[in-house]
Each structure stands twice: as C-alpha cells, then as structure tokens.
Assembly symmetry: C2
Homo-oligomer: 204 residues x 2
C-alpha cells in the first residue's frame, strides 16, 4: 500500500462523503460514487470491499473530526467544570452538520443493522472516554471530590446519557434555543454534586 493508493482511496472517500451527506446511504449508489470520483465501479472494489466499508470509513472520518474538534475546544479551558460545559455545548453544534453520523448516534436508525451498531458503539465509547478524561482531570486537580473516583466509568456513562437525554428532550419540542441554558443548568448541578465531599454534606 503506497502513497498513490492512499491518494486514490482518499479521493473515493471524499466524493463518497459528499454524496452520502447529500443523498444519504440509500440514495447514493456505487455507480454515483464511481462517477463522482472519476473512476470505474470496478476500481471502487479494487480499493474497498463493499459499500458498507466505504460508508464506515466515511463516518469514521467524520467521527475523528468531531472528536478532534471537541478535544480542541475542551483544551482551551482550564477547569474540569468548564471543560464539561464546553463539551456539552460544543457537541451538538459540531454534530448537527454531520447528518449521517448524527442519525447513527441518536439511535434513530434501526439498531439491527450491524454496521450501524458498531459505529454507534465506537462513537459512544469515545464520548464516554472523553468525559472520563475530564473527570480524571478534575479529580487530579482536587476539583472533584474523591468519592467520584469510586466508579468513574459509570459516572462518565451516566453523564453522557444525561446530556444526550436533555438534548433529545429539547429537540423533540423544537426548543433548540434553550439548549445552552438547560445544559448549563444540569451541568452546574452535576458539577456541584461532583465537588461535594462526603464531609460537606448537610447533616440531617
């Protein structure tokens, strides 16, 4: 596999990405992709095993881009609380421009399609990982109380689900404009909760 090959593969993916983005999976044919890339259909199969594989790589590229950008934004702020806030607020904005990926993540697509299940899973793991890293960061800096170290994976998972639930709840009602405020709110409460040492809890 040399540079020339990589170039061809990239060209195919670039064109496929545009088409998938515009027409979606079903309406984009291999013939379409071949034409757009200025190749023969046979060439597509020389470099890729199937339409599935092309789609998978396209979405993986998008996912990589999403997490690169998220990481950049998160790195711009200094506290774990701000990082978490940034993550929540930035996530939606970045994702909404990637229709196919967003649909996969939201689970709207029938979960029985193996290729989408895998993509969904991979995305989820990365997001949870990102949140976990922020939690760890906050623990190291003593920003968060030590009790949170007990089950950091579960907390990360739960938080990802919570934020996503809020996003869905607002979008169902077309209240996108309220997203920032609401995210701030739940994030604030969670942050307070994570910062509260056992010894700080009010006595009953």
């Amino acid at each position: 596999m040399n540079e020339k090959d990589e170039l061809v593969r990239k060209e195919i993916l670039d064109e496929a990405q545009k088409l998938f983005r515009h027409f979606g999976w079903s309406k984009t044919t291999m013939e379409d992709i071949a034409k757009a890339a200025g190749k023969g259909k046979s060439t597509l199969y020389y470099y890729y095993k199937s339409k599935d594989e092309i789609f998978d790589e396209v979405l993986t590229r998008e996912m990589d881009e999403v997490f690169r950008k998220l990481q950049e934004e998160v790195n711009k702020v200094q506290t774990a609380e701000d990082k978490m806030r940034t993550l929540c607020l930035t996530r939606f904005n970045i994702l909404k421009e990637k229709a196919n990926l967003y649909n996969v993540i939201r689970g709207d697509i029938e979960a029985n399609i193996p290729r989408l299940r895998d993509l969904h899973r991979r995305y989820e793991l990365r997001e949870i990982s990102l949140v976990r890293n922020i939690l760890r960061f906050g623990l190291e800096r003593k920003e968060f109380a030590q009790y949170a170290a007990d089950d950091i994976d579960s907390i990360a998972f739960a938080m990802v689900c919570a934020f996503r639930g809020l996003e869905v709840g607002l979008l169902v009602e077309n209240k996108f404009a309220a997203l920032e405020g609401r995210m701030d709110l739940i994030n604030d409460i969670l942050m307070r909760g994570l910062k509260t040492k056992n010894s700080d809890l009010s006595k009953e």
Copy 2:
C-alpha cells in the same frame, strides 16, 4: 350521560385496552373491538367519536394508573432524595408493562401523528410536575439549597430528561440489570448538587 352509559363506555375501553396492548394500534380494528365488547360497530361510534378517541382514552387511563402508582410509591418515603430515587427506580418497572404508552413516551412513534404528540406532551407535563413537587418538597424542608428555587421548572425538566436518557442508554445495550445502580449514581450526584449551598462550594 348516565351510569348505564358509563358502564358501556367502560366495557368498550376495557376490551379495547386488551386488544391494543396485545396487537398494537394498527392491528386492532374497530370490528375487533366491537366483537370483543359484544357490541356492534355502530355502538362504538355511538359512544366514541373515532378509533383515535378510544385509543386516547385507553392510554390516558394507563397514564393515570402509572401516576397513581408512582405517587403512592413516592409517598412511602420521607426525604426528597429518597422520593427522587424511588421515582426513577419505579418508573421503568411500571411503564414497561404498558407497551403502547411506553412507546409513545419514548418518542419512538412518529412524532407527526397528532394524537401521539398530545399524549406524549401530557405524559411529559405530568412527570415534570411530579419531579417539580419533589423538588419543592426538598426546598421546603431545607433539604435542597436555595439556589435551586431560582428555576425549579427547568431543573425538573432537565432531570426528567437526564433520567430518561440514562434509561435509553442502558436499554440500547440491553443492560437493564445495571439500571438501578446507574440511576442511583446519577441521582446521588444530582442530589449532592442540589444540596450544596453556594457557600459550601470549594474555593478555587
């Protein structure tokens, strides 16, 4: 409208509920319902305007039952924190036996169907109301910090969404067994957050 009428209406609803529960909306016909109720189809239309109306009343009954049970369970415990916990843990167990209602609530059903939109909305308002009441209760008892009184509605909404998000996240992965632990976790953090007075926050 007299007692006799109410009896007939109830009988129709009882049978309809069974059928909808078993066969779902689409596969249950008015003829089916009529036969099951031992009535003529014309009788159904004498008492109800349409299939939609019957469905709506069936689901409303189920909703009433759900909230009655939830309120009972919540009333059994004494602190706002325990009430919230009970709500989270009990909700799924009660709802999972009401397939049609649960589907409406989860938003899996096409949001474009007016009758389902309304049902969904009504359920949502009631659940948020329930959470709001628990929050108020916690504020009155000084269980929760006063800052939470600033926007109690938004907090209630966000919490409902968060719990629901967690539920969805776990169910997608068939991790029903982890539901209780995870709900406890996020609830714990949220409760800590709600209990933390502004003056309790660590200084940076």
